[in-house]
Amino acid sequence: MRITQGCFSFLPDLTDEQISSQVDYCLSKTWAIGIEYTDDPHPRNTYWEMWGNPMFDLVDPKGVMMELEACRKQFGDHYIRFNAFDSTRGFETVTMSFIVNRPKVEPKIRMIRQETDGRSQRYSFETVR
């Protein structure tokens, strides 16, 4: 199922040019870009694996796209996302996060029911590979 996490996730996949212009917008606001990847799209999986360090001193999106190419070469069948981090005082947070690469076949997410005391049900989600 096509997961809808992050910005632009309801749109069709962004082209490299579109990704580049989004990165340009982030860099123009002096936000740092960090690349993360994972193969588990569970909604509670907040912390994906980092690809290299967040790039704080870049001026042009080409540098970020070079890193994305390298990440795609190694983890082409994983989810890859860009996080834009705003380091101004009072914010110090990720302001923008969007998926830039999806695996060819996206895993399904299944709901599990668990019976607890009385006959209460606890519901949780699980990624199905």
């Binding site: 001193d57 870049l58 001026v59 042009d60 080409k62 540098g63 970020v64 070079m66 890193e67």
Partner: protein, 308 residues
Amino acid sequence: MDGDIPAPLPTTVDLRAEYESSGVKELLDDLDQEMIGLKPVKQRLRETAALLLVERARKSLGLTHHTPTLHMSFTGNPGTGKTTVALKMAGLLKRLGYVRKGHLVSVTRDDLVGQYIGHTAPKTKEVLKKAMGGVLFIDEAYYLYRPDNERDYGQEAIEILLQIMENNRDDLVVILAGYADRMDKFFESNPGFRSRIAHHIDFPDYQNEELHRIATHMLTEQNYVLTEGAKAAMDDYIALRRSQPHFANARSIRNALDRARLRQANRLFSSASGPLDATALSTIEEQDIRASRVFSGGLDSDRKEDAA
């Protein structure tokens, strides 16, 4: 309504108007004013600007064009303005649209070469990522290649640079800088670099008169004035300093002026008998310059070497 039909291409282009509207004229005029001397450099910059303007004009008329090779090599002694001109070059390229962002990243060998195996490639790649969209200025470029030490990792950095210089010509302009003779040797042993560099610009040493003007310019910027005696002393100083070791053109002048200001401050401090006005605080007297060790033959360490 089809928004995809391209607008018809113009059939003529006014180069003069382009020259002014793109901000190139302003930048070159600034360069003429701010930098003293450097005639061949300014000439070359004007020629490069003309070439890039015409290329841009051809592109706007729909003629095919390949990105011109813009990598350059600046050769010359220290203190002749190579880094300053590289910065101006970055601004020029940005105004003509040949680099996207026009920032300058200035590095030396240590920023590119690692200390152990596997360290060089990520280090160089980090620097290149930062420099993308602008100009990478590599100072003392010949240190990248150390043929005598086979454990040196400079060759790796060179290879990465060469590949980027060829494949990412739209994204990055590389300017190498250093002494003329050592750069020649460097290019001889790395023909790959020489073939990728389109423009070789030599920075001649400043003349005495030009150094004097630079000194006056620096002082005026800081609201200082030289007395007539001080001006004569400055002329003598420049003539003497040039022949002494480690002469670094404009940088030596800047250091000399800093020391003159130090002596002026001490003189005012120790001999002030009443309140001082702005004129007194801004005037550099002859003795502030004559007190320099240059007039007695140079630094003690240099003189000892001569004697020995």
